[in-house]
């Protein structure tokens, strides 16, 4: 078997947590989670509200620690490098790990164009010849280009909810992060917008490693390759999505996905 075939069979691990713990003050919200998120795969995090899955995903780009009193322990390896190592600048980490949030949050004072380019604009890249192709590529990747190409100067907040969320995805993609985190990206959207974003995610994961928190079990089942179930700060079980949804190993996973609690 050639090395190439081997990597195909055993996908490279893009992001991995080892004993990750997250605290709010003295309260421990995530209790030592170890999870591997393979390259160019979509990993879904499911679990009832307050199970720690959102906190977990916010540790993956060191956003958790921005909350006063919050901190994380353990390791998060991005392509083998611990992003919690002393001396690592979280700002640089966040350029490599994009994030899309539950509520669409385009910058209200910026145009659609500026929103998409904001990661670069605010980092000092002002040259239109550099920005134009990036804005176009990102909007196309986010399947929004055709809808907004004639109104790039308009405010981003005038778009519909689904369009705003795709704008946020384009904004995150513009800085070309190898990893994209999504915290319930469709929970504020209608079914059609949701379907569009799911379709988009299937396309995106060919180039980007995606980690997504979702409350929608059917969504996790539809589009993820790997699913991890969180409960009360622990990761109860993780595995291939079809296995989790047809034959979970843990009783608690079974009870949650069949709707017996949560």
């Amino acid at each position: 078997m050639s090395a190439d075939e081997q990597t195909k069979l055993q996908p490279r691990i893009e992001l991995e947590t080892i004993g990750l713990q997250a605290y709010f003050g003295e309260t421990r919200a995530v209790h030592g989670v170890s999870l591997r998120m393979p390259r160019h795969r979509l990993t879904a995090l499911i679990g009832p509200s307050g199970c720690g899955k959102s906190t977990f995903i916010r540790c993956l780009n060191r956003l958790h620690e921005e909350i006063p009193g919050a901190r994380a322990e353990g390791q998060v390896l991005l392509e083998g490098e611990d992003i919690y190592r002393r001396g690592v600048d979280p700002v640089l980490i966040r350029r490599r790990i994009g994030m899309v949030f539950q509520r669409p949050n385009p910058f209200p004072t910026m145009s659609i164009y500026e929103n998409v380019a904001s990661g670069l604009l605010l980092a000092g890249v002002k040259d239109r010849r550099t920005l134009d192709p990036i804005v176009e590529r990102s909007l196309k990747q986010a399947a929004l280009w055709d809808e907004v190409k004639d109104q790039l100067k308009r405010t981003g907040t005038r778009l519909s909810g689904g369009q705003q969320q795709r704008l946020c995805i384009a904004r995150a993609l513009a800085v070309e992060p190898p990893v994209l985190l999504m915290d319930e990206p469709t929970s504020a959207l209608d079914p059609i917008s949701t379907a569009r974003i799911e379709e988009l995610l299937l396309e995106l994961k060919k180039a980007v490693t995606v980690v997504m928190v979702t409350h929608n079990m059917q969504q996790a089942a539809r589009i993820s390759d790997q699913t991890a179930f969180f409960l009360l700060g622990d990761m109860v079980e993780s595995g291939p999505t079809d296995a989790i949804f047809t034959n979970p190993k843990d009783q608690r996973t079974e009870q949650y996905i069949t709707g017996r609690f949560g």
Binding site: N61, L63, E66, P68, G69, V91, L92, I93, R94, R95, R96, G98, M99, F101, Q102, R103, N105, P106, F107, P108, T109, S118, G119, L122, A123, T155, T157, R158, C168, R171, A172, V175, L181
Partner: protein
Amino acid sequence: MILLVTGCALAVLPLLAILMHLLREGASSIDLNFFTQVQKPVGELGGGMAHAILGTAAQVGLAAGLGVPLGLACGIYLAEYGGRERLAGPVRFALELLASTPSILVGVFVYGVIVVPMKKFSLFSGALALMVILLPLVARTSEELLRLIPQHLREAGLALGLPRWKVILSVVLRSAWPGVWAAILLGIARIAGETAPLVLTSFGNPTFPRGLDQPSASLPLQIYTYAISPFDEWHRLAWAGALVLVFTVLALNAITRLTGGSNERRRAD
């Protein structure tokens, strides 16, 4: 309902009365001289308020130049870092006390700290007193306004790999700017009309100030000087000065309203 309307009318009445009276007494005295001449010796006809207008402009400008950045810095510190900093509580408390201090006490304070050691009244000390009044206004309102900017916008910026200071300036402050700008204008309008602290600091001056360390006239003080004099000519100028002062303050408020209004329209989208 009728009671409410009557109440509102009673509330607006004094303002209208003041404006009418000022217009009647002062409008005729506003001419070119008013804006170009300084105080004339008693008995001479004419004279104007140029020195007072300039003095007020200089003192308010200086106070704003110092107070606005400092106030914004305080507001940003309290809103954006206040949650995790021990210093935030005391700072907020101090600003609150400062905001509710009678302005004459601010004057006394600056008198004690600046005027007495320097052994003279000065434009600079007047500006300083006005700044001390402006700073808590800008700080407290900008803090409140920055707090209104939803957390998820900050997170959006941070998640893009922007440093915190950049997120605060380019995203948070920019989003809150229309409101903050309004707060700054209102603050300036407020200090432009302050009289009490200036009596003990810039003191007043019948002619143009010759330096920052020299006593300076100001519109409110000059009105006071003219008004308590026994001379009709000066009374006339006092009315005109009062009219200019009131309209300046009104204009500032109006500008605030207009910019604030456009801000609300944008939010509603």
